[in-house]
Symmetry: C2
Subunit: 337 residues, 2 copies
């Protein structure tokens, strides 16, 4: 495990960490983990896609402070920071949700470019370390499976997904430049599909869509044949991988995700079973939801060797926790299971 002695030392000390996008699905879970490890967190968010509810339980925590601002504007912090982590961005590709990045194109481009520039500048000014939340979307509609970090990707620079893909690719290039030119200690995590509590119910992704339909005893809507596969990582596994990465000296990108593929149809059947929903599934061939690639699956060889990490939470276990969360959120009482 490539964690030099000096970093293990840092790990034991309490760090002051600025995290952008702290009110988001991933940002809020990462905040909880950082606080649990004894660090102090300044959570920055503009609440365009982040949710205040995700931080409500930290209101009286003296180790957490909220900084309400847009990451695209200059970030002023007077205390010495040890770490800057840039997670702020819309992230749902669904054009039918107002929270999907196709409906927030300029905000998404700015979060990726100006936001990364501002957070890297902050890290440089404080001689702090930096971690960029990148994405499997840098691989676009991949022509190789699974995707290793060496794959260059297949993205349309002017297509509807470009506002996210190109912003994140630019953010990676800028991060590497600050590493190479200014010697900032940087990290890049390429995050694959993740699910769990605190996913927004209204961002149009398949997990919250299916679970809501199942809890309401409605049939689950599948777009296309249902044979298209997804590789979903439970959020606690993802956060564990990111926490390990942030303590290494690894500057090159590392994939974090779950390589287990499940077809959308099997996924729907599992969720119906877990929710005891007998309404079945409806298949719609004519429509497609967004232009999600047919397949995307992480090669996690590097994460295994550099971080000694691999996902541990089984799909049914992760789905049960997510269903419990969404049931509470929707005010639906537990069934007869």
């Amino acid at each position: 495990m490539i964690i030099p002695e000096t970093l293990i030392e840092t790990e034991r000390q309490s760090m002051l960490i600025l995290l952008t996008g702290a009110a988001g699905f991933l940002g809020s879970h990462l905040t909880d983990r950082l606080l649990a490890e004894g660090h102090e967190v300044i959570g920055l968010d503009n609440f365009v896609t982040g949710d205040r509810e995700n931080l409500r339980h930290l209101e009286n925590n003296p180790k957490f402070r909220l900084m309400e601002q847009d990451v695209s504007n200059f970030i002023q912090v007077d205390e010495p920071l040890d770490y800057v982590m840039h997670f702020a961005s819309p992230a749902s590709p669904n054009p039918s949700s107002p929270l999907g990045y196709p409906n927030l194109p300029i905000q998404t481009l700015k979060a990726g470019a100006l936001g990364t520039y501002n957070s890297l500048g902050l890290a440089k000014a404080h001689r702090a370390r930096f971690l960029l939340a990148s994405t499997s979307e840098v691989y676009g509609d991949p022509t190789v499976h699974p995707q290793s970090e060496e794959y260059w990707g297949n993205c349309d620079p002017i297509g509807p997904r470009s506002v996210y893909d190109e912003a994140k690719r630019f953010a990676e290039a800028l991060t590497m430049a600050y590493h190479n030119v200014h010697g900032v200690r940087t990290h890049i995590v390429r995050i694959f599909n993740t699910y769990g509590p605190r996913m927004r119910l209204d961002d149009g992704r398949v997990v919250p869509n299916f679970i809501q339909q199942a809890l309401r005893k409605e049939p689950l809507t599948i777009y296309g044949t249902g044979e298209q596969t997804r590789s979903f990582c439970y959020v606690s596994d993802l956060i564990e991988g990111i926490y390990r990465l942030m303590l290494t000296d690894e500057a090159l990108p590392v994939n974090i995700g779950n390589p287990n593929e499940t077809s959308i149809k099997d996924f729907a059947l599992i969720i119906n079973k877990l929710c005891q929903n007998e309404a079945g599934i409806i298949t719609r061939y004519a429509e497609t939801l967004g232009d999600d690639p047919q397949r995307r699956q992480p090669d996690i060889t590097r994460a295994k060797s550099i971080l000694q990490w691999e996902p541990k939470v089984e799909l049914t276990e992760g789905l049960n926790r997510t269903i419990d969360y969404m049931r509470r959120k929707l005010g639906i009482p537990a069934g007869q299971e």
Copy 2:
């Protein structure tokens, strides 16, 4: 030809145009053309890679004003602008020249992202039209030949060329977003290899390198086999294509370049002949100069149909004009030809 009546009207009127990168190789030629067409030009440059000599002849031209600033900083113009054209960026890929973008990585990333953001914001504020100088480098190391505008490219997001490629891809995505969201009338030209007078002698590209060696009666240095090809467009042809594009309503990218391929070896032989240099060529197999792709060639179908444009200047004619320029620049008297 898709030039609506209203635009032809605009063409006849004098426009006030802000052009970033006006002191560059392409920017200065475009400035001359815009002035010749009766427009007024505000030329913005920070002279990192631009050359004051390229604008010297305009010092007493009342229709031209120089604005010395970095395009990455906010641009303040109080008079109403009709057009903003963003050409500012380092553009030579040669890592052995201090003017190559591998040696100006953060400036290059900023010119592409913050520079495009600032110039698009300026166009939006003035309800002006906008043209982005993009590049064939968005195609990266292409897997298809020739490259049409539909090809998505093959770029390494964290490689040494990413500071230019990803910045320009991001700039295209941002330009399309301003077009789609804010209704800014935008244009994107993808510029392929261009040569001609005012190329910097010291930016390490093959044309100035060969011509300087030939004028000094030294052998021309070829890296690799010399079988790799290039498609070079003479600068006046390129400017004609850009001038036509800026008067259309075409928002999607248009390739402008010369599809005629010449091997580097043939290129060297032609230059030696034109310069009456009998020192021959030297082939160096061990070294490579930069990591230029082996082949890049424009498909100009769209330019032909939308702009009724194709290159006209023959290679020997264009090289002769370039040789004359470099001979004067180097203070070498004309030979006995």
